[in-house]
């Protein structure tokens, strides 16, 4: 093998090695969590890396100790409400900003975008005061309300509405459809990929949300999945098999969505900055 060829193939081999090692590091913690759900605490600490036969035992213990079904139900209801409401409100707004845009609306958009800079922690205290004054603690609406309208989603729908042909709107107007009908019958069906992307990213964010639910959900009945697994770490003697079973249950929905809708997810996070 000539020196040049060695350099060429050698550097390529190094790139593959690097990518393989990095991919391994990225996947390993999740694989380890998943496998550990099948094992006992001594096995996990002993470094066992293949699934054993203790999954049922871990899950039974978990169900005995924690209100897993309540948490799952709450997490699903919270998340689905946020997805439905935010997609409706933000797509209508994104469409409005793009299709009827003029100087005034562009200015409003710029002002709304500023709210992206507001870190949640900066408004945590007044938000808690407002929501307890409105009697929204421990209620689904309390979780949902702050997440319905986000500049991120409005931007996503707005930038994608740009590719929606103006001729369709004109033609529909001539056919006598009113503005709402055009939105419902023309825009929504054409923009299905954008809705999928928005739904994916919103589902993930809501499902994984932790700080806000921790602030407004104060009872055992209103607990969410991330809150439940966080509580598991507070004991003195930790049952790692049980904990990893719970973490796996909490992670499964988002990982499944990730694998099925990876393209939508990628489009959503990269598409908003176009």
């Amino acid at each position: 093998m000539s020196k040049g060829a060695f350099r060429k193939y050698g550097s390529k081999a190094l790139i593959y090695l690097f990518l393989i090692v990095m991919s391994f590091i990225s996947v390993f913690p999740l694989y380890w969590c998943f496998v550990s759900a099948f094992n006992t605490t001594p096995e996990i600490l002993g470094g066992k890396l293949v699934p054993g036969g203790h999954l049922m035992e871990n899950i039974t213990n978990l169900l005995d100790q924690q209100k897993v079904f309540t948490a799952l139900k709450n997490s699903f209801i919270n998340t689905i409400l946020v997805v439905l409401l935010s997609l409706t409100v933000c797509s209508v707004a994104g469409y409005g900003f793009e299709v009827y845009h003029d100087k005034g609306k562009d200015t409003v958009m710029k002002i709304l975008m500023l709210s992206m800079m507001v870190p949640f922690v900066a408004i945590m205290v007044p938000m808690f005061q407002m929501f307890s004054a409105m009697g929204m603690l421990n209620k689904y609406i309390g979780f949902v309300l702050p997440s319905i309208s986000t500049p991120f989603l409005i931007m996503l729908f707005r930038s994608n509405a740009r590719s929606f042909p103006k001729e369709i709107i004109e033609a529909a107007r001539i056919d006598g459809l009113n503005e709402v009908q055009i939105f419902v019958r023309m825009f929504i069906p054409t923009m299905r990929p954008t809705y999928a992307a928005a739904a994916t990213v919103t589902f993930m964010n809501s499902w994984n949300s932790y700080l806000w639910p921790r602030i407004i959900f104060k009872t055992n009945e209103s607990i969410t999945m991330p809150m439940l697994i966080s509580n598991l770490m507070s004991g003195y003697v930790l049952d790692y098999g049980l904990i990893m079973a719970a973490v796996t249950i909490c992670t499964l929905p988002t990982v499944i969505i990730f694998f099925f809708l990876q393209k939508s997810f990628t489009e959503a996070i990269a598409g908003s900055v176009k």
Binding site: P29, S115, M244, T251, T266
Partner: protein
Amino acid sequence: MTNQEKGQSKRHLTLQQKQNLTGWIFLLPASLLIIWMSFYPMVRAFVVSLMRGKPTALEFSDPLWRNYQRMTMDTVFIQSLKNTFTYLIIQVPIMLVLALIFASLLNRKDIRFKGIFRTCIFLPCATALVSYSIIFRTLFAYDGFVNAILLNLRLISEPINWMNDPTGAKTVIIIALIWRWTGYNMVFYLSAMQSIDYSIYEAARIDGAGPLTQLTKITMPLLKPVILVTAIMSTNGTLQLYDESVNLTNGGPANASITMSHYIYNTTFVTSPNFGYAAEMSFVILMFVAILSAIQMKVGDKR
């Protein structure tokens, strides 16, 4: 046009005006919600930051900036500030450079299995912050997996007590953050790189430019706007770190790894709630975010 005027002229609106009005109605709910759930609380945060007393009996403090004075002497706050900026200064650059490297490797035409690599590196984004915090806490436990591996490879002679060592705890948080967010940033870079014409790279290669020169002289200048966006997002995110501080290290040992958000949460809800002081610290974070974003935009504009 005020609402009153709108009402009066409703009967004889032109088609143009009618559509314009529809536009405003379309964006009204979203706009009102953002004002109600974001801007209004921000103003209130500032007002509350001037107050003192129990949550149920807040009153304006005397002098008004009393909370601001208190903050400058609060050792835990200063510690949390130092910790947060340590994470920011160490983690964000490493993560963004790694993401750039991954993206430029996965954008090469001569690399195979790109889809699989991309999926693997992107996968951590699908995990909840609480989930991965708990996984990393378990992996880095004293009798945990990482110590076992390091011992077996004879890299260390006795287990490292990650969670009980100030540097160890911060290191684990930084490693965990890099693990969770590198793939996320990579996606931004990849999507931007795909819009760069590949022939530029071919021309550069003919001119004798190596991979590193191509990265720094072609890719990075063209990617500047996206790099800026990711830098601002990461800065904003780091200043808000909460889930990791709570679930990975619990702020410990002795507040050595506590973040500002975690300390503010504790001040608000855990030990003798003090809404005024918590709101004051929140407002300071808001200022940090605003200043840092402004600096980054300025720097990004110049280059």
